[in-house]
Protein backbone atom coordinates (compact mmCIF):
# COMPACT_ATOMS: atom_id res chain seq x y z
CA UNK A 1 0.00 0.00 0.00
CA UNK A 2 2.83 2.37 0.85
CA UNK A 3 3.93 2.12 -2.76
CA UNK A 4 0.61 3.32 -4.18
CA UNK A 5 1.39 6.11 -6.61
CA UNK A 6 -1.07 8.77 -7.62
CA UNK A 7 -2.40 8.00 -11.05
CA UNK A 8 -1.18 4.41 -10.82
CA UNK A 9 -3.35 1.31 -11.16
CA UNK A 10 -6.35 1.01 -8.86
CA UNK A 11 -5.41 -0.29 -5.43
CA UNK A 12 -8.32 -2.33 -4.24
CA UNK A 13 -7.33 -2.08 -0.57
CA UNK A 14 -7.93 1.69 -0.58
CA UNK A 15 -10.94 2.93 1.34
CA UNK A 16 -10.67 6.30 -0.36
CA UNK A 17 -9.36 6.86 -3.86
CA UNK A 18 -9.27 10.28 -5.44
CA UNK A 19 -8.16 11.05 -9.02
CA UNK A 20 -7.90 14.32 -10.89
CA UNK A 21 -10.08 16.16 -8.41
CA UNK A 22 -10.49 19.80 -9.42
CA UNK A 23 -12.63 22.73 -8.46
CA UNK A 24 -12.64 26.23 -9.91
CA UNK A 25 -14.25 29.28 -8.37
CA UNK A 26 -14.62 31.54 -11.37
CA UNK A 27 -11.05 31.90 -12.59
CA UNK A 28 -9.49 30.56 -9.40
CA UNK A 29 -8.40 26.93 -9.34
CA UNK A 30 -8.92 26.20 -5.63
CA UNK A 31 -8.04 22.54 -6.21
CA UNK A 32 -6.42 21.15 -9.33
CA UNK A 33 -5.72 17.53 -10.26
CA UNK A 34 -5.67 16.30 -6.67
CA UNK A 35 -4.89 12.61 -6.19
CA UNK A 36 -4.72 10.46 -3.11
CA UNK A 37 -5.33 6.90 -1.93
CA UNK A 38 -6.03 6.17 1.70
CA UNK A 39 -5.94 2.60 2.94
CA UNK A 40 -8.31 1.34 5.59
CA UNK A 41 -7.01 2.05 9.09
CA UNK A 42 -4.53 4.75 8.07
CA UNK A 43 -4.28 8.32 9.29
CA UNK A 44 -3.27 10.71 6.54
CA UNK A 45 -2.36 14.34 7.15
CA UNK A 46 -3.22 17.13 4.71
CA UNK A 47 -1.15 20.26 5.10
CA UNK A 48 -0.42 23.43 3.20
CA UNK A 49 -0.41 27.21 3.64
CA UNK A 50 -3.61 29.20 4.10
CA UNK A 51 -5.78 29.14 1.01
CA UNK A 52 -3.97 26.09 -0.41
CA UNK A 53 -7.27 24.29 -0.99
CA UNK A 54 -7.37 21.82 1.92
CA UNK A 55 -10.88 22.63 3.17
CA UNK A 56 -12.12 22.74 -0.41
CA UNK A 57 -10.94 19.13 -0.80
CA UNK A 58 -13.01 18.11 2.23
CA UNK A 59 -15.99 19.98 0.81
CA UNK A 60 -15.59 18.10 -2.48
CA UNK A 61 -15.20 14.70 -0.83
CA UNK A 62 -18.21 15.15 1.46
CA UNK A 63 -20.48 16.45 -1.29
CA UNK A 64 -20.82 19.90 0.26
CA UNK A 65 -19.33 21.23 -2.98
CA UNK A 66 -19.50 19.64 -6.42
CA UNK A 67 -16.17 18.97 -8.11
CA UNK A 68 -15.56 20.60 -11.48
CA UNK A 69 -13.80 17.40 -12.50
CA UNK A 70 -12.40 14.24 -11.02
CA UNK A 71 -13.20 10.91 -9.54
CA UNK A 72 -13.81 9.97 -5.89
CA UNK A 73 -14.28 6.37 -4.77
CA UNK A 74 -15.28 5.33 -1.29
CA UNK A 75 -14.78 1.60 -0.73
CA UNK A 76 -14.75 1.20 -4.49
CA UNK A 77 -18.04 3.03 -5.20
CA UNK A 78 -18.03 6.35 -7.01
CA UNK A 79 -19.50 9.13 -4.87
CA UNK A 80 -18.89 12.13 -7.11
CA UNK A 81 -22.03 14.19 -7.64
CA UNK A 82 -23.94 12.50 -4.83
CA UNK A 83 -25.74 14.55 -2.20
CA UNK A 84 -23.90 15.13 1.09
CA UNK A 85 -26.60 13.26 3.04
CA UNK A 86 -26.14 10.22 0.78
CA UNK A 87 -22.36 10.34 1.16
CA UNK A 88 -22.73 10.53 4.94
CA UNK A 89 -24.85 7.38 4.77
CA UNK A 90 -22.14 5.62 2.78
CA UNK A 91 -19.78 6.09 5.71
CA UNK A 92 -17.94 9.36 5.14
CA UNK A 93 -18.20 11.94 7.93
CA UNK A 94 -16.49 15.25 8.50
CA UNK A 95 -16.00 18.11 10.92
CA UNK A 96 -15.89 21.79 10.03
CA UNK A 97 -12.94 24.09 10.49
CA UNK A 98 -15.27 27.00 11.27
CA UNK A 99 -17.35 24.98 13.82
CA UNK A 100 -20.77 24.50 12.31
CA UNK A 101 -22.63 23.02 15.27
CA UNK A 102 -26.40 23.19 15.65
CA UNK A 103 -26.04 26.15 17.95
CA UNK A 104 -29.51 26.24 19.46
CA UNK A 105 -29.62 22.50 20.12
CA UNK A 106 -28.08 20.86 23.16
CA UNK A 107 -24.83 18.92 22.92
CA UNK A 108 -26.85 15.72 23.25
CA UNK A 109 -29.28 16.72 20.50
CA UNK A 110 -26.36 17.58 18.20
CA UNK A 111 -25.12 14.01 18.52
CA UNK A 112 -28.53 12.32 18.45
CA UNK A 113 -29.54 14.02 15.22
CA UNK A 114 -26.34 12.81 13.57
CA UNK A 115 -26.95 9.29 14.89
CA UNK A 116 -30.34 9.38 13.10
CA UNK A 117 -28.22 9.05 9.98
CA UNK A 118 -28.60 5.31 10.49
CA UNK A 119 -32.33 5.40 11.34
CA UNK A 120 -35.04 4.84 8.74
CA UNK A 121 -36.18 7.91 6.78
CA UNK A 122 -37.91 10.13 9.33
CA UNK A 123 -40.69 11.10 6.92
CA UNK A 124 -41.71 7.45 6.89
CA UNK A 125 -41.13 6.74 10.57
CA UNK A 126 -43.14 9.81 11.54
CA UNK A 127 -46.05 8.51 9.56
CA UNK A 128 -45.69 5.07 11.09
CA UNK A 129 -45.12 5.82 14.77
CA UNK A 130 -44.11 2.29 15.68
CA UNK A 131 -40.60 3.05 14.44
CA UNK A 132 -40.28 5.74 17.07
CA UNK A 133 -39.53 3.16 19.74
CA UNK A 134 -36.33 2.24 17.95
CA UNK A 135 -35.01 5.75 18.55
CA UNK A 136 -34.06 5.07 22.17
CA UNK A 137 -31.02 3.20 20.87
CA UNK A 138 -29.76 6.34 19.12
CA UNK A 139 -30.11 8.36 22.31
CA UNK A 140 -28.04 5.75 24.15
CA UNK A 141 -25.34 5.83 21.46
CA UNK A 142 -25.26 9.60 21.75
CA UNK A 143 -24.63 9.33 25.49
CA UNK A 144 -21.78 6.91 24.84
CA UNK A 145 -20.20 9.23 22.30
CA UNK A 146 -20.52 12.23 24.61
CA UNK A 147 -18.73 10.19 27.23
CA UNK A 148 -16.11 9.16 24.65
CA UNK A 149 -15.23 12.82 23.99
CA UNK A 150 -15.59 13.82 27.64
CA UNK A 151 -18.73 15.95 27.36
CA UNK A 152 -21.15 13.93 29.51
CA UNK A 153 -21.63 16.75 32.00
CA UNK A 154 -22.34 19.21 29.16
CA UNK A 155 -24.96 17.02 27.46
CA UNK A 156 -27.86 19.31 28.33
CA UNK A 157 -26.12 22.59 27.44
CA UNK A 158 -26.83 24.44 24.22
CA UNK A 159 -23.94 23.99 21.80
CA UNK A 160 -23.46 27.74 21.52
CA UNK A 161 -22.60 27.99 25.21
CA UNK A 162 -19.79 25.41 25.15
CA UNK A 163 -16.16 26.54 25.23
CA UNK A 164 -14.14 26.47 22.03
CA UNK A 165 -12.38 23.25 23.01
CA UNK A 166 -15.66 21.59 23.94
CA UNK A 167 -17.18 22.65 20.64
CA UNK A 168 -14.27 21.07 18.75
CA UNK A 169 -14.86 17.80 20.61
CA UNK A 170 -18.60 18.00 20.05
CA UNK A 171 -17.92 18.35 16.31
CA UNK A 172 -15.95 15.10 16.52
CA UNK A 173 -18.64 13.28 18.53
CA UNK A 174 -21.32 14.44 16.10
CA UNK A 175 -19.37 13.21 13.08
CA UNK A 176 -18.69 9.87 14.79
CA UNK A 177 -22.40 9.46 15.51
CA UNK A 178 -23.08 8.97 11.80
CA UNK A 179 -21.08 5.73 12.06
CA UNK A 180 -18.32 6.58 9.57
CA UNK A 181 -15.67 4.35 8.04
CA UNK A 182 -13.77 7.44 6.94
CA UNK A 183 -13.59 10.56 9.09
CA UNK A 184 -12.31 13.89 7.79
CA UNK A 185 -11.16 16.25 10.55
CA UNK A 186 -10.61 19.87 9.51
CA UNK A 187 -8.18 21.49 11.97
CA UNK A 188 -9.45 19.60 15.03
CA UNK A 189 -6.85 21.34 17.20
CA UNK A 190 -7.39 24.77 15.63
CA UNK A 191 -7.42 27.42 18.35
CA UNK A 192 -6.85 24.91 21.14
CA UNK A 193 -4.44 25.43 24.00
CA UNK A 194 -1.80 22.84 24.90
CA UNK A 195 -3.98 20.90 27.34
CA UNK A 196 -6.98 20.78 25.01
CA UNK A 197 -4.77 19.78 22.12
CA UNK A 198 -3.38 16.86 24.07
CA UNK A 199 -6.91 15.72 24.84
CA UNK A 200 -7.64 15.90 21.12
CA UNK A 201 -4.51 13.90 20.28
CA UNK A 202 -5.59 11.08 22.59
CA UNK A 203 -9.11 11.26 21.20
CA UNK A 204 -7.84 10.83 17.65
CA UNK A 205 -5.67 7.88 18.68
CA UNK A 206 -8.68 6.21 20.26
CA UNK A 207 -10.79 6.85 17.16
CA UNK A 208 -8.14 5.19 15.04
CA UNK A 209 -7.94 2.27 17.45
CA UNK A 210 -11.69 1.78 17.01
CA UNK A 211 -11.04 1.07 13.32
CA UNK A 212 -11.99 4.37 11.70
CA UNK A 213 -9.79 5.68 8.89
CA UNK A 214 -8.84 9.36 9.19
CA UNK A 215 -7.76 12.30 7.08
CA UNK A 216 -6.55 15.24 9.11
CA UNK A 217 -5.99 18.86 8.14
CA UNK A 218 -3.76 20.68 10.57
CA UNK A 219 -1.41 23.65 10.67
CA UNK A 220 0.29 22.68 13.91
CA UNK A 221 3.09 20.28 12.93
CA UNK A 222 3.83 19.29 16.51
CA UNK A 223 0.28 18.10 16.75
CA UNK A 224 0.04 16.46 13.33
CA UNK A 225 3.33 14.73 12.63
CA UNK A 226 3.32 12.20 15.50
CA UNK A 227 -0.24 11.15 14.65
CA UNK A 228 -0.10 10.42 10.96
CA UNK A 229 1.20 7.62 8.76
CA UNK A 230 1.52 9.81 5.70
CA UNK A 231 1.29 13.47 4.78
CA UNK A 232 0.08 15.12 1.59
CA UNK A 233 1.18 18.70 1.03
CA UNK A 234 -0.89 21.25 -0.89
CA UNK A 235 0.15 24.58 -2.32
CA UNK A 236 -1.93 26.83 -4.60
CA UNK A 237 -4.49 24.08 -5.19
CA UNK A 238 -1.96 21.44 -6.20
CA UNK A 239 -0.43 18.56 -4.31
CA UNK A 240 3.28 19.20 -4.24
CA UNK A 241 4.43 16.25 -2.17
CA UNK A 242 3.33 13.12 -0.37
CA UNK A 243 5.19 10.78 1.94
CA UNK A 244 6.01 9.82 5.49
CA UNK A 245 6.34 12.64 8.03
CA UNK A 246 10.12 12.15 8.07
CA UNK A 247 10.40 12.37 4.28
CA UNK A 248 8.13 15.42 4.13
CA UNK A 249 10.22 17.31 6.67
CA UNK A 250 13.23 16.90 4.40
CA UNK A 251 11.50 17.68 1.09
CA UNK A 252 13.04 20.91 -0.20
CA UNK A 253 9.93 22.00 -2.11
CA UNK A 254 7.78 21.56 0.99
CA UNK A 255 10.23 23.42 3.14
CA UNK A 256 10.23 26.25 0.66
CA UNK A 257 6.50 26.40 0.04
CA UNK A 258 5.02 25.55 3.36
CA UNK A 259 7.39 25.37 6.27
CA UNK A 260 9.12 28.45 4.90
CA UNK A 261 5.95 30.49 5.12
CA UNK A 262 5.18 29.03 8.53
CA UNK A 263 8.60 30.09 9.76
CA UNK A 264 8.17 33.46 8.18
CA UNK A 265 4.84 33.76 9.97
CA UNK A 266 6.36 32.64 13.24
CA UNK A 267 9.08 35.26 12.88
CA UNK A 268 6.61 38.03 12.03
Amino acid sequence: MAGARPGGPAVSASLLEVRGLSRWFGGLAAVQGFEIAVAEGQIVGLIGPNGAGKTTIFNLLSGTLRPSAGEVRLAGASIVGRAPEAIARLGLARTFQDLRLFRRLTARENVVVAAFCRAPNSLVSWTFPRHQKGLAGFARQAEELLEFVGLTDKAGDLAMYLSHGQQRRLEVARALATGPRLLLLDEPAGGLGRMESEIMTRLIQRIRASGVTLVLIEHNMHFLMPLVDRVAVMNFGRKIAEGTPAAIREDPEVVAAYLGTAQARARA
Binding site: E85, A88, R94, L101, L105, E109, V112, C117, T178
Partner: protein
Protein backbone atom coordinates in the same frame (compact mmCIF):
# COMPACT_ATOMS: atom_id res chain seq x y z
CA UNK B 1 -34.35 14.15 25.03
CA UNK B 2 -35.61 17.47 23.66
CA UNK B 3 -34.94 20.94 24.89
CA UNK B 4 -38.34 22.51 25.47
CA UNK B 5 -39.78 21.97 28.93
CA UNK B 6 -42.62 19.52 28.86
CA UNK B 7 -44.67 20.80 31.77
CA UNK B 8 -48.32 19.96 31.37
CA UNK B 9 -49.90 22.48 33.68
CA UNK B 10 -49.63 25.61 31.49
CA UNK B 11 -51.44 23.68 28.79
CA UNK B 12 -54.15 22.36 31.07
CA UNK B 13 -54.67 25.85 32.47
CA UNK B 14 -54.92 27.37 29.01
CA UNK B 15 -57.30 24.65 27.85
CA UNK B 16 -59.50 25.05 30.92
CA UNK B 17 -59.75 28.80 30.34
CA UNK B 18 -60.44 28.22 26.66
CA UNK B 19 -63.25 25.74 27.36
CA UNK B 20 -64.92 27.38 30.35
CA UNK B 21 -64.15 31.06 29.77
CA UNK B 22 -66.34 32.02 26.83
CA UNK B 23 -69.61 30.48 28.12
CA UNK B 24 -68.99 32.06 31.54
CA UNK B 25 -68.95 35.52 30.02
CA UNK B 26 -72.32 34.69 28.44
CA UNK B 27 -71.55 37.01 25.53
CA UNK B 28 -71.82 35.67 21.97
CA UNK B 29 -69.36 38.38 20.93
CA UNK B 30 -66.63 36.84 23.07
CA UNK B 31 -67.34 33.47 21.51
CA UNK B 32 -67.20 35.13 18.10
CA UNK B 33 -63.80 36.63 18.86
CA UNK B 34 -62.63 33.27 20.18
CA UNK B 35 -63.56 31.65 16.86
CA UNK B 36 -61.46 34.21 15.02
CA UNK B 37 -58.71 33.91 17.64
CA UNK B 38 -58.62 30.14 17.26
CA UNK B 39 -58.33 30.48 13.50
CA UNK B 40 -55.46 32.98 13.87
CA UNK B 41 -53.82 30.59 16.31
CA UNK B 42 -54.27 27.74 13.83
CA UNK B 43 -52.61 29.83 11.11
CA UNK B 44 -49.79 30.73 13.48
CA UNK B 45 -49.25 27.10 14.55
CA UNK B 46 -49.03 26.26 10.85
CA UNK B 47 -46.50 28.96 10.02
CA UNK B 48 -44.49 27.95 13.08
CA UNK B 49 -43.95 24.49 11.59
CA UNK B 50 -42.28 26.06 8.56
CA UNK B 51 -40.59 29.09 10.12
CA UNK B 52 -40.04 28.05 13.72
CA UNK B 53 -39.00 24.45 13.13
CA UNK B 54 -37.42 24.51 9.69
CA UNK B 55 -36.43 28.17 9.41
CA UNK B 56 -38.46 28.63 6.21
CA UNK B 57 -39.84 32.10 5.68
CA UNK B 58 -43.32 32.14 4.18
CA UNK B 59 -45.34 35.16 3.21
CA UNK B 60 -47.95 32.92 1.61
CA UNK B 61 -49.98 31.79 4.62
CA UNK B 62 -52.80 34.17 3.63
CA UNK B 63 -52.89 32.58 0.18
CA UNK B 64 -53.06 29.02 1.57
CA UNK B 65 -55.79 30.21 3.94
CA UNK B 66 -57.67 31.59 0.92
CA UNK B 67 -57.18 28.43 -1.13
CA UNK B 68 -58.68 26.43 1.74
CA UNK B 69 -61.60 28.83 2.13
CA UNK B 70 -62.48 28.96 -1.58
CA UNK B 71 -62.03 25.24 -2.23
CA UNK B 72 -64.20 24.37 0.74
CA UNK B 73 -66.93 26.91 -0.06
CA UNK B 74 -67.00 26.07 -3.79
CA UNK B 75 -67.20 22.34 -3.13
CA UNK B 76 -70.21 22.73 -0.86
CA UNK B 77 -71.93 25.36 -3.03
CA UNK B 78 -71.44 23.74 -6.41
CA UNK B 79 -71.28 20.01 -5.81
CA UNK B 80 -73.33 19.77 -2.66
CA UNK B 81 -70.50 18.07 -0.78
CA UNK B 82 -70.86 17.98 2.99
CA UNK B 83 -68.83 20.24 5.27
CA UNK B 84 -66.52 17.51 6.52
CA UNK B 85 -65.58 16.40 3.02
CA UNK B 86 -65.00 20.02 2.03
CA UNK B 87 -62.97 20.64 5.19
CA UNK B 88 -60.59 17.79 4.38
CA UNK B 89 -60.45 18.77 0.72
CA UNK B 90 -59.42 22.29 1.77
CA UNK B 91 -56.47 20.88 3.70
CA UNK B 92 -55.49 18.65 0.78
CA UNK B 93 -55.77 21.46 -1.79
CA UNK B 94 -53.74 23.92 0.26
CA UNK B 95 -51.21 21.17 1.02
CA UNK B 96 -50.82 20.37 -2.68
CA UNK B 97 -50.37 24.06 -3.47
CA UNK B 98 -47.73 24.19 -0.72
CA UNK B 99 -46.05 21.07 -2.05
CA UNK B 100 -45.89 22.53 -5.56
CA UNK B 101 -44.57 25.87 -4.35
CA UNK B 102 -42.12 24.06 -2.09
CA UNK B 103 -40.82 21.86 -4.91
CA UNK B 104 -40.26 24.94 -7.05
CA UNK B 105 -38.75 27.29 -4.50
CA UNK B 106 -37.33 25.41 -1.52
CA UNK B 107 -33.83 25.25 -2.95
CA UNK B 108 -33.74 29.04 -3.03
CA UNK B 109 -31.94 30.42 0.00
CA UNK B 110 -33.68 32.42 2.76
CA UNK B 111 -34.41 35.80 1.21
CA UNK B 112 -35.27 34.38 -2.19
CA UNK B 113 -37.74 31.96 -0.63
CA UNK B 114 -39.40 34.86 1.21
CA UNK B 115 -39.71 36.79 -2.05
CA UNK B 116 -41.02 33.75 -3.95
CA UNK B 117 -43.73 33.13 -1.35
CA UNK B 118 -44.64 36.80 -1.44
CA UNK B 119 -45.05 36.57 -5.22
CA UNK B 120 -47.18 33.43 -4.84
CA UNK B 121 -49.36 35.25 -2.31
CA UNK B 122 -49.98 38.07 -4.78
CA UNK B 123 -50.64 35.70 -7.69
CA UNK B 124 -53.25 33.75 -5.75
CA UNK B 125 -55.09 36.94 -4.84
CA UNK B 126 -55.01 38.18 -8.44
CA UNK B 127 -56.43 34.86 -9.61
CA UNK B 128 -59.19 34.91 -7.01
CA UNK B 129 -60.09 38.51 -7.91
CA UNK B 130 -60.23 37.89 -11.63
CA UNK B 131 -61.54 34.37 -12.12
CA UNK B 132 -65.11 35.68 -12.08
CA UNK B 133 -66.81 32.58 -13.44
CA UNK B 134 -65.65 30.53 -10.46
CA UNK B 135 -64.75 32.83 -7.60
CA UNK B 136 -67.23 35.65 -8.39
CA UNK B 137 -64.29 38.05 -8.39
CA UNK B 138 -64.03 40.85 -5.84
CA UNK B 139 -67.61 40.30 -4.64
CA UNK B 140 -66.77 36.84 -3.44
CA UNK B 141 -68.99 33.90 -2.59
CA UNK B 142 -71.98 34.29 -0.35
CA UNK B 143 -74.41 31.93 1.32
CA UNK B 144 -71.79 29.38 2.27
CA UNK B 145 -73.68 26.97 4.52
CA UNK B 146 -72.49 26.11 8.00
CA UNK B 147 -71.67 22.51 8.94
CA UNK B 148 -74.59 20.12 9.22
CA UNK B 149 -75.20 18.72 12.70
CA UNK B 150 -72.76 15.95 13.53
CA UNK B 151 -74.38 12.71 14.67
CA UNK B 152 -72.21 10.81 17.11
CA UNK B 153 -73.41 7.44 18.40
CA UNK B 154 -75.04 7.67 21.81
CA UNK B 155 -75.08 11.48 21.90
CA UNK B 156 -77.57 14.09 20.80
CA UNK B 157 -76.50 15.51 17.41
CA UNK B 158 -73.87 18.25 17.71
CA UNK B 159 -75.07 21.53 16.23
CA UNK B 160 -72.71 24.26 15.05
CA UNK B 161 -75.20 27.09 14.66
CA UNK B 162 -74.29 29.30 17.59
CA UNK B 163 -70.98 31.16 17.88
CA UNK B 164 -70.16 29.15 20.97
CA UNK B 165 -70.77 25.79 19.29
CA UNK B 166 -68.66 26.81 16.30
CA UNK B 167 -65.97 27.98 18.66
CA UNK B 168 -65.74 24.51 20.19
CA UNK B 169 -65.36 23.07 16.70
CA UNK B 170 -62.51 25.51 15.93
CA UNK B 171 -60.96 24.83 19.33
CA UNK B 172 -61.02 21.07 18.72
CA UNK B 173 -59.20 21.52 15.42
CA UNK B 174 -56.70 23.86 17.10
CA UNK B 175 -56.03 21.37 19.89
CA UNK B 176 -55.43 18.66 17.29
CA UNK B 177 -53.07 20.92 15.37
CA UNK B 178 -51.12 21.76 18.52
CA UNK B 179 -50.88 18.05 19.34
CA UNK B 180 -49.56 17.34 15.86
CA UNK B 181 -47.02 20.14 16.08
CA UNK B 182 -45.94 18.93 19.53
CA UNK B 183 -45.50 15.42 18.21
CA UNK B 184 -43.56 16.75 15.25
CA UNK B 185 -41.31 18.81 17.49
CA UNK B 186 -40.50 15.91 19.79
CA UNK B 187 -39.90 13.27 17.12
CA UNK B 188 -36.92 12.44 14.95
CA UNK B 189 -38.26 14.63 12.19
CA UNK B 190 -38.55 17.63 14.53
CA UNK B 191 -34.97 17.37 15.70
CA UNK B 192 -33.80 17.04 12.10
CA UNK B 193 -35.80 20.13 11.11
CA UNK B 194 -34.23 22.14 13.93
CA UNK B 195 -30.79 20.99 12.82
CA UNK B 196 -31.57 22.17 9.28
CA UNK B 197 -32.78 25.49 10.68
CA UNK B 198 -29.54 25.97 12.64
CA UNK B 199 -27.13 24.90 9.90
CA UNK B 200 -28.28 23.24 6.73
CA UNK B 201 -24.78 22.52 5.40
CA UNK B 202 -23.79 20.71 8.58
CA UNK B 203 -27.14 18.93 8.81
CA UNK B 204 -26.77 17.50 5.32
CA UNK B 205 -23.20 16.45 6.03
CA UNK B 206 -24.60 14.50 9.02
CA UNK B 207 -27.03 12.64 6.78
CA UNK B 208 -30.17 14.77 7.25
CA UNK B 209 -32.38 14.75 4.15
CA UNK B 210 -32.77 18.51 4.31
CA UNK B 211 -34.59 19.15 1.03
CA UNK B 212 -37.29 16.52 1.58
CA UNK B 213 -37.81 17.66 5.15
CA UNK B 214 -38.12 21.31 4.23
CA UNK B 215 -40.68 20.55 1.54
CA UNK B 216 -42.59 18.46 4.06
CA UNK B 217 -42.58 21.22 6.70
CA UNK B 218 -43.62 23.82 4.14
CA UNK B 219 -46.51 21.67 2.87
CA UNK B 220 -47.63 20.78 6.39
CA UNK B 221 -47.84 24.46 7.26
CA UNK B 222 -49.96 25.00 4.15
CA UNK B 223 -52.31 22.16 5.15
CA UNK B 224 -53.01 23.80 8.52
CA UNK B 225 -53.66 27.15 6.83
CA UNK B 226 -56.05 25.45 4.39
CA UNK B 227 -58.01 23.81 7.21
CA UNK B 228 -58.26 27.18 8.95
CA UNK B 229 -59.54 28.65 5.69
CA UNK B 230 -62.33 26.10 5.49
CA UNK B 231 -63.39 26.79 9.09
CA UNK B 232 -63.38 30.49 8.30
CA UNK B 233 -65.52 30.16 5.15
CA UNK B 234 -68.24 28.10 6.81
CA UNK B 235 -68.27 30.43 9.78
CA UNK B 236 -68.53 33.86 8.18
CA UNK B 237 -70.53 32.38 5.26
CA UNK B 238 -69.21 35.01 2.83
CA UNK B 239 -65.73 34.76 1.43
CA UNK B 240 -64.05 37.54 -0.50
CA UNK B 241 -60.46 38.10 -1.58
CA UNK B 242 -59.40 40.74 0.94
CA UNK B 243 -59.53 38.31 3.89
CA UNK B 244 -56.61 36.44 2.33
CA UNK B 245 -54.43 39.30 1.17
CA UNK B 246 -50.81 39.89 2.12
CA UNK B 247 -51.95 41.78 5.22
CA UNK B 248 -53.19 38.44 6.57
CA UNK B 249 -49.85 36.77 5.84
CA UNK B 250 -48.15 39.61 7.65
CA UNK B 251 -50.46 39.33 10.66
CA UNK B 252 -49.74 35.58 10.92
CA UNK B 253 -46.02 36.29 10.81
CA UNK B 254 -46.30 38.92 13.54
CA UNK B 255 -48.34 36.63 15.77
CA UNK B 256 -45.77 33.83 15.49
CA UNK B 257 -42.84 36.13 16.18
CA UNK B 258 -44.53 37.94 19.05
CA UNK B 259 -45.85 34.71 20.57
CA UNK B 260 -42.56 32.88 20.36
CA UNK B 261 -40.95 31.42 17.26
CA UNK B 262 -40.22 27.71 17.45
CA UNK B 263 -42.11 27.18 20.71
CA UNK B 264 -45.33 25.21 20.83
CA UNK B 265 -47.39 27.57 22.95
CA UNK B 266 -46.14 30.87 21.53
CA UNK B 267 -48.05 30.84 18.23
CA UNK B 268 -51.28 29.98 20.06
CA UNK B 269 -50.87 32.89 22.47
CA UNK B 270 -49.77 35.22 19.66
CA UNK B 271 -52.71 34.36 17.40
CA UNK B 272 -55.28 34.85 20.13
CA UNK B 273 -53.69 37.99 21.57
CA UNK B 274 -53.48 39.73 18.22
CA UNK B 275 -57.18 38.99 17.64
CA UNK B 276 -58.30 40.43 20.96
CA UNK B 277 -56.02 43.46 21.27
CA UNK B 278 -57.59 45.41 18.38
CA UNK B 279 -61.04 44.84 19.88
CA UNK B 280 -60.20 46.32 23.23
CA UNK B 281 -57.57 48.88 22.37
CA UNK B 282 -58.85 51.64 20.17
CA UNK B 283 -55.36 52.77 19.14
CA UNK B 284 -54.74 49.26 17.92
CA UNK B 285 -57.65 49.50 15.50
CA UNK B 286 -56.57 52.78 14.04
CA UNK B 287 -52.89 52.06 13.72
CA UNK B 288 -52.88 48.30 13.34
CA UNK B 289 -49.88 47.97 11.07
CA UNK B 290 -47.87 50.64 12.81
CA UNK B 291 -48.35 48.72 16.04
CA UNK B 292 -47.47 45.41 14.37
CA UNK B 293 -44.28 47.02 13.15
CA UNK B 294 -43.46 48.39 16.59
CA UNK B 295 -44.20 45.02 18.21
CA UNK B 296 -41.89 43.32 15.76
CA UNK B 297 -39.06 45.70 16.55
CA UNK B 298 -39.54 45.26 20.29
CA UNK B 299 -39.57 41.48 19.97
CA UNK B 300 -36.54 41.33 17.72
CA UNK B 301 -34.53 43.57 20.02
CA UNK B 302 -35.74 42.77 23.51
CA UNK B 303 -37.48 39.40 23.41
CA UNK B 304 -36.02 37.19 20.68
CA UNK B 305 -37.97 34.15 21.89
CA UNK B 306 -41.25 36.05 21.90
CA UNK B 307 -43.64 35.90 24.85
CA UNK B 308 -43.38 32.12 25.24
CA UNK B 309 -39.58 32.21 25.00
CA UNK B 310 -39.50 34.94 27.64
CA UNK B 311 -41.73 32.91 29.95
CA UNK B 312 -39.48 29.86 29.52
CA UNK B 313 -36.42 31.91 30.41
CA UNK B 314 -38.18 33.24 33.51
CA UNK B 315 -39.20 29.73 34.55
CA UNK B 316 -35.63 28.48 34.07
CA UNK B 317 -34.21 31.31 36.18
CA UNK B 318 -36.79 30.77 38.86
CA UNK B 319 -36.00 27.05 38.98
CA UNK B 320 -32.26 27.74 39.09
CA UNK B 321 -32.78 30.16 41.97
CA UNK B 322 -34.97 27.66 43.82
CA UNK B 323 -32.27 25.06 43.36
CA UNK B 324 -29.54 27.40 44.57
CA UNK B 325 -31.58 28.30 47.64
CA UNK B 326 -31.82 24.64 48.62
CA UNK B 327 -29.07 23.54 51.04
Amino acid sequence: MLAESSHRWPWLLLLAVAVVGPPLTGEPYVAHLMVLGSLSALLAVGLNVALGFAGLFSFAQGAFYGIGAYVSALLVLSSGAGFWTAFLAAGVAAGLAGLLLGLLTIRLGGHYLAIATFAFQEIVIVVIRNWDSVTKGPLGLSGVPGPAPLALPGLPPLEFQSELAYYYLALAVLVLAVAVSWRLRTSQIGLELLAVRDDEVAARAMGVRAVQLKIFAFSASAVLAGLAGSLFAHYVKNVSPESFAVATSFAVLVSVLVGGLGTIMGPVLGGIALTFLPEYLRVFQEHRFTIYGALLIVVVIALPGGVAGGLQTLARRWRARAQAARP
